[in-house]
Amino acid sequence: MVWRWRLGALLLAGMLGAAPVAAAPSQTLTVFAAASLSDAFRDLGRRFEAAVPGAKLRFSFAGSQQLAQQIANGAPADVFASADEPQMRAAITSGRIDVTTLRPFARNRLVVATDRRRDTVRTLGDLAKPGIHVVLGARTVPIGRYSHEFLQQASRPGALGADYGRGVLGNVVSYELDVRSLVTKLALGEADAGLVYVSDLNGPQGAKLGQIAIPEAWNQDVLYPIATLADSPQRRLAQAFVDYVSSAEGQMVLSRHGLRITDGARTYRRLAPTTR
């Protein structure tokens, strides 16, 4: 009987002894990033982990509005990459962002993605045709906000007609809460068309979809800002990741995933005044 207790104590001591060793070496970085960045950031994460020994990246991908809310409510994170400025501003208002590290790192554009098999939407105008099923992002999601702005601009005189926006909105069957759900629903053939980012057509699911380009005049300049959190326990590592994303290699990886790169100074100046 006694030897069982001794064995148990030995095992326990062994586990306790091993635990610190298992936990110690890696520095884990928690990155909150917009859903549209999932493929690109996973790729960047792998390269970063390979380049920085001991670094371990943990991602939380969701609609930027959800991430901003989580940050405002104290969720532990080290880096936040949003799909639009309003959500970054919401996070800044909560006081948790280190604004000195704030910078734009990627851009994107809108595109109409279609169900290629059904082939019911061939032109922008077709989106407003009666009987068409359209999926959009909810207004609080960056993709939804951009989509609504596009619809407004496309309904101006000389564009696609004053009723265009109303017609498209009348065809909406669901307002999704992040852009990846949009892509999935389209890939499953649940809708005829939807408004997504150009970069979303790069992934395995997006490649199955057809696309209709949106003219520059009505397209939206999607700007992704990134920043570290002021209370991050890994400030240096977080900054290193932000620097990596903005570096030449990082930008090349981003562009391979369909995101456009930032041209630094010009776009940063646009972002700076809003940080006050």
């Binding site: 609609g63 609080t140 909406v172 069957v173 307002y175 999704e176 053939g189 649940e190």
Partner: protein, 272 residues
């Protein structure tokens, strides 16, 4: 031991003394978050939030679909429960496990499964859509999602309740000349009623709170598929005070309904 007679219900309260402080923490754990919601809702805006179009639409949709789903669960689930207890169905253990499955399946998985079945390119959905009866993204989808996750609660309770009804009683009634319908309504149902009722309540409550499968399968469209839980979730990102008002309404309605139903059940039982 504390033994006393409850002034209101006339029931005796009994039990060892330590039971009270041991039992209270969980009750407190349930009550505190509800108090937190009520604390945060700004009283002035409450009325305007409650009268908002979006709130009323979501409320109407939620209550309506939950009731329809529960009705369907009772209609379809009672024969199933009866078949299980009377041994009409083969492979009883397999079917029992199958019925339990939606209860342990994560709601989002249930949503995806329903989408792949009833969606436009789904197993059944393709034919339904071609026949002019699309399912996904409609209110029907909301009902189906709720039925999938909530019906097992009813079937489980009904099976247990019906199994406890002794067949001798039914046979005795038959010997006395009662027809099958009379036996069912006057012997079986009244005896199994507490379990059937509890099952209905659990089913309704689960259907009302359903979120993951609904979002995945039915989508999010105000007035059509945006149920209360979904409206609260979306509202949380837009306007916290509106979401809190919605949440409070949901809590109040659920609590009131469950309380009323339980009191009805109590009085019914005492009458019997």
């Amino acid at each position: 031991m504390i033994t006393s007679v409850d002034a209101v219900s006339g029931r005796r309260r009994q039990g060892p003394l330590w039971l009270l402080p041991a039992a209270l923490p969980l009750v407190g754990f349930f009550v505190l978050p509800l108090i937190a919601i009520c604390w945060q809702v700004p009283g002035r805006d409450l009325l305007s939030h409650l009268q908002a179009q979006a709130t009323l639409e979501a409320l109407r949709l939620s209550l309506g679909t939950a009731t329809v789903s529960t009705g369907l669960a009772v209609l379809l689930g009672t024969p199933l429960a009866l078949a299980i207890t009377r041994g009409t169905l083969p492979c009883r253990r397999l079917i029992d496990t199958l019925i339990d499955l939606p209860m342990v399946l994560p709601p989002s998985v249930a949503g995806i499964a329903l989408l792949l079945t009833f969606g436009r390119n789904g197993l059944l959905g393709a034919e339904l859509a071609a026949a002019g009866m699309p399912v996904a993204f409609t209110t029907v989808a909301v009902v189906l999602a709720q039925l999938f996750v909530a019906a097992p609660y009813y079937v489980r309770a009904a099976t247990a309740g019906l199994a406890r009804v002794e067949t001798e009683l039914e046979q005795a009634a038959a010997v006395d000349g009662a027809g099958p319908a009379q036996i069912w309504w006057r012997i079986t149902v009244p005896l199994a009623w507490p379990a059937l009722f509890a099952g209905m309540v659990a089913c309704w409550a689960r259907a009302l709170g359903e979120f993951g499968a609904t979002l995945m399968f039915a989508g999010n469209l105000p007035g059509v598929t945006q149920t209360m839980p979904l409206a609260v979730y979306v509202g949380f990102e837009v306007e916290l005070s509106q979401a809190l008002a919605l949440a409070m309404v949901l809590v109040a309605i659920s609590f009131a309904t469950l309380l009323v139903l339980r009191s009805l059940d109590d009085t019914g039982r005492r009458g019997v």
